[in-house]
Symmetry: C2
Subunit: 410 residues, 2 copies
C-alpha cells in the first residue's frame, strides 16, 4: 500500500456543501484494511432519480451486474459501497453476497432492494466477508450525516493516496442547482469506463432518462478520456443521483436548452474528478495532457490520444524527463487510425518539435527539456488530415508503479 | 544501455551453418554506439527470391517504405542494415538517405538498386549520418564471409543483451534444405508485426509468391504472438531470402504437400527467434507462456492472450511472483472478445486455480506460489465457449524496464 500522498495531489479536499435529500454514513469493517473506514452508505430521499455508466468488461463484478439490472428502473434510495474486496469473479457466491447486503440495507432504510445500488472495489477473486459486512451495515442508518463527503471519499479508497471530491454550482431555468461528487481509483484505469468508482449527486429534478443522456455525454469527455495503465477494471461504476429538491422548472428532455449550463457543469465536474484520479495514478510523478487535432473524427483523435497515453515507451520517457518525441511518432503510428507521416506535427510544452514528417529546422531542445522537468506535461499532436479533436489525460510510468503493483495483494 | 545479459538468455549463440549463396559483412560505423559493429551487409547470389513482412505502423520508417516498394518484385541481391538510428520520421531527408545507401550497395555489388533491401533500427526522428554510413558501406563487399551469422546478429542489436540466431534442417521432396536466421529486438515489440528486425535465409528454391505465403502463415504463429510492451515499432521488418541452391524438385505452389516439413521448420525457426526476443525483453526476469483455448475463434484466442500479455497489472504481479489470478480475469474481461465469467477456467503452472467463474474449492496456493518463483511461467486460460486456441509469449514488467526506458536516448 502506498502511504505517501501523490506529488500531483491537489492541496486539499474541497469544501463540498450538503445536497438536500442526501446523506452519508461510513464505518470500519476490516474487510482488508486495518484502522480505516471501508464501508460507505449513501442515502437519497424518496423520489430521487438515478443514472449510471458501468464497465464493459466481460468479467464484470457481481455488484456491477446488480446495478446493470436495477439501473433501468431509474430510481434509487441508497448506494452501498465497500473497499478492499471487489467481489469480482466470485461466481454465484458473489451474487448471493450482493443480494444479502442489498437486502440488509433495504430493511434498514425501509425501501425496496431494487432501489439499493451497490459497488465494491479491491482484490478480485476472493469471496466478500459477507457476515462482517452485514454486521457493519446494520449500524449505518443510525450514523447518517448530511455533509460527510470527505468521509465517504476516504471510505471508498484502495491504493488511492488522497480522497477525491469536486463541486460545481450552476442553474437550471435561472434557479440555483448544485452538483457534487467523489471518486476513487489510481490503477487498473482505462476506458471504457475509466471510472473505477465515482458517485455524483445533484439537487436537480430530472427524469432518469434525461440524467442518463447527460451522464453518458459527459463521461465521453471526461472519464473516457483518461488512462493510467490501460487496464479496464471489472468494477468501474459511475452513478449520478438527483434528489429533485431544487425549485427549477420542470424539464422533460435532455435537449432542453435550459440544461446548457447544467450540462457544462456536469462535464466540468466529472473532468475534475477524472483528472484527480490521474493525478493519483499509481507511482505518477507527471500529469500529462495530450491534445490531438486534425484527425479524421473525434473518436479517431481520442484513439490516437489514448495510444500515446498508454504507450509504456512514451510514459517512461516522460518519467525520465526525456523529450523523446520519436516515441510519440511511434504511438501515433500504432494507433491504427488514419495518419500521414508527412502531415504530422508535434509540439511539447507549446514548442513545435516536429512538422510535416520531420524535426523542425534548427530545433532547440533546451526549452522543451526545461518543460519536461515540470510536473505538468503538455503534448500537442496535429495529424493534419481532418477536423477531429480530443484531449486525453494520463500520467507517467515510474518505478513507483512497479513497486506498488508487484506486491499489491501480498 | 543495458549491459548485463538477460537472465533468460539461452546459454550460447547456436552454431549456424553457411547457406550456399549467402554471405555477410559487418563494420563499426559509429552511428550511435562506440566500440561495436552497427552496419551489416547480407549478400545473396543472383537468382535469389525474397519475401517480407513489414510493420503496419502508419508512421513507418523510410527503409520500411523502400522495402514495401521493392518486395513485390520478389528478388533481392542484398540487405543492408544499420543499428543506432531508425531513420524513421525523417521526412524526405530520410528517403534520400535510404536511396543513397542502397545505390552505394548496388554499385559495390554490381546489381540493381531495386534488388537491395534496407532496414534501420534505433532512435526515431534523427537524420541518419548518411556520409558516415556511405563511407563504411564502400568497404563491405571486400569483407564478405560465408558464415558470420553471429557477427551479423551482433551488428543489428540495439538494447538487446545478446545476439539471437536459430537454425532448422528440413527437406523438400526428400532433399535436404536448411533455414537459418537472426533477429534483434527487446523493446517496442508487439504485433503486428512484432519483429523488430529479423532476417532468415534458406537454400530452398522457391518462387517469391510461395515464399511470401509460407512466411505470412509462419509469422501469424510466431512473431505475431509475442509482445514485450505492446508498442509497435515504426521499423519492424522480417525478410526471408531463398538462394535456390538446394537440389529439390521444382515447387510452384504454397499448398504443395512436399512443403509440409519445410513449412513446419520455418514456423519453428521463427517461433524460436521470436521467443529469444521475448527472453531479451527489456528488464525481463520471467518468460511467460499464455495458452488460451475455448475461444470463439483462433483470432479471438490470440487477442485474449495478448490482452493478458500486455496488461501492466498482470506483468507486474508476475514480476512480484504474486499468483494474482484476479488480474488475469480482469485482462480477459477487457479484451473485448466473447467471454462468460461462469465458464472461465484458469490454471497457473498447471495447477487449476479458478473454474466456472470462481476460485476452485479448497484452492491451495502453495504449489502455484512455488511455480511463480521460477523463471518460466505458464498460464492456461479456457474460455469454455468455443474451439479457438492460441499461444502467446511475453515477459514480466520490472524496475529494469523503467530504468532502461527512462533514459534510453540520453
Amino acid at each position: 500500500m502506498a502511504v505517501t500522498r501523490s506529488p500531483l495531489a491537489p492541496r486539499r479536499f474541497p469544501k463540498l456543501p450538503a445536497i438536500a435529500g442526501l446523506s452519508f454514513a461510513t464505518a470500519a469493517c476490516g474487510i482488508k484494511y486495518k484502522g480505516r473506514t471501508d464501508v460507505c452508505l449513501m442515502v437519497l430521499d424518496p423520489g430521487s432519480t438515478v443514472a449510471g455508466v458501468l464497465t464493459r468488461s466481460k468479467t464484470a463484478s457481481a455488484p456491477v451486474e446488480w446495478c446493470r439490472a436495477q439501473l433501468p428502473h431509474g430510481r434509487a434510495r441508497a448506494i452501498i459501497v465497500n473497499s478492499g474486496n471487489a467481489n469480482a469473479f466470485t461466481g454465484k457466491t458473489g451474487e448471493t453476497s450482493v443480494r444479502r447486503v442489498v437486502d440488509a440495507v433495504a430493511a434498514g432504510l425501509g425501501c425496496r432492494p431494487q432501489d439499493v445500488l451497490a459497488a465494491s472495489t479491491g482484490v478480485i477473486g476472493q469471496p466478500l466477508p459477507t457476515e462482517k459486512v452485514l454486521k457493519t451495515v446494520a449500524g449505518l442508518p443510525a450514523k447518517l450525516l448530511a455533509d460527510d463527503w470527505k468521509g465517504a471519499a476516504a471510505a471508498i479508497m484502495t491504493t488511492d493516496t488522497y480522497p477525491k471530491g469536486a463541486v460545481r454550482r450552476t442553474e437550471i431555468g435561472g434557479k440555483p442547482v448544485t452538483i457534487a461528487g467523489i471518486a476513487k481509483g489510481s490503477g487498473m484505469i482505462a476506458p471504457d469506463m475509466a471510472t473505477m468508482l465515482s458517485f455524483a449527486f445533484t439537487d436537480a429534478r430530472l427524469p432518469s432518462e434525461v440524467l442518463q443522456t447527460l451522464l453518458r455525454q459527459a463521461v465521453d469527455k471526461s472519464f473516457n478520456c483518461i488512462t493510467v495503465d490501460g487496464d479496464t477494471s471489472t468494477s468501474d461504476t459511475l452513478l449520478l443521483g438527483a434528489t429533485g429538491k431544487a425549485r427549477h422548472p420542470r424539464i422533460s428532455e435532455a435537449r432542453d436548452p435550459r440544461l446548457a449550463a447544467f450540462r457544462e457543469a456536469l462535464e466540468d465536474l466529472l473532468r475534475d474528478l477524472a483528472q484527480q484520479v490521474v493525478r493519483d495514478g499509481e507511482g505518477a510523478s507527471k500529469f500529462i495532457t495530450i491534445n490531438v487535432r486534425g484527425a479524421a473524427s473525434r473518436n479517431a483523435a481520442r484513439r490516437v490520444g489514448l495510444a500515446i497515453a498508454n504507450s509504456p515507451l512514451v510514459k517512461t520517457a516522460i518519467a525520465g524527463e526525456d523529450a523523446n518525441w520519436g516515441r510519440i511518432v511511434m504511438a501515433v503510428g500504432k494507433a491504427g487510425e488514419r495518419a500521414d507521416r508527412d502531415r504530422l506535427s508535434i509540439a511539447i510544452g507549446g514548442v513545435r518539435v516536429a512538422e510535416r514528417g520531420e524535426v523542425v529546422p534548427g530545433y532547440d531542445e533546451a526549452p522543451v527539456a526545461e518543460h519536461m522537468k515540470g510536473s505538468d506535461i503538455d503534448i500537442d499532436v496535429d495529424l493534419g488530415i481532418g477536423r477531429g479533436k480530443a484531449t486525453v489525460w494520463t500520467c507517467d510510468l515510474t518505478h513507483g508503479y512497479i513497486s506498488i503493483n508487484a506486491d499489491y495483494r501480498s
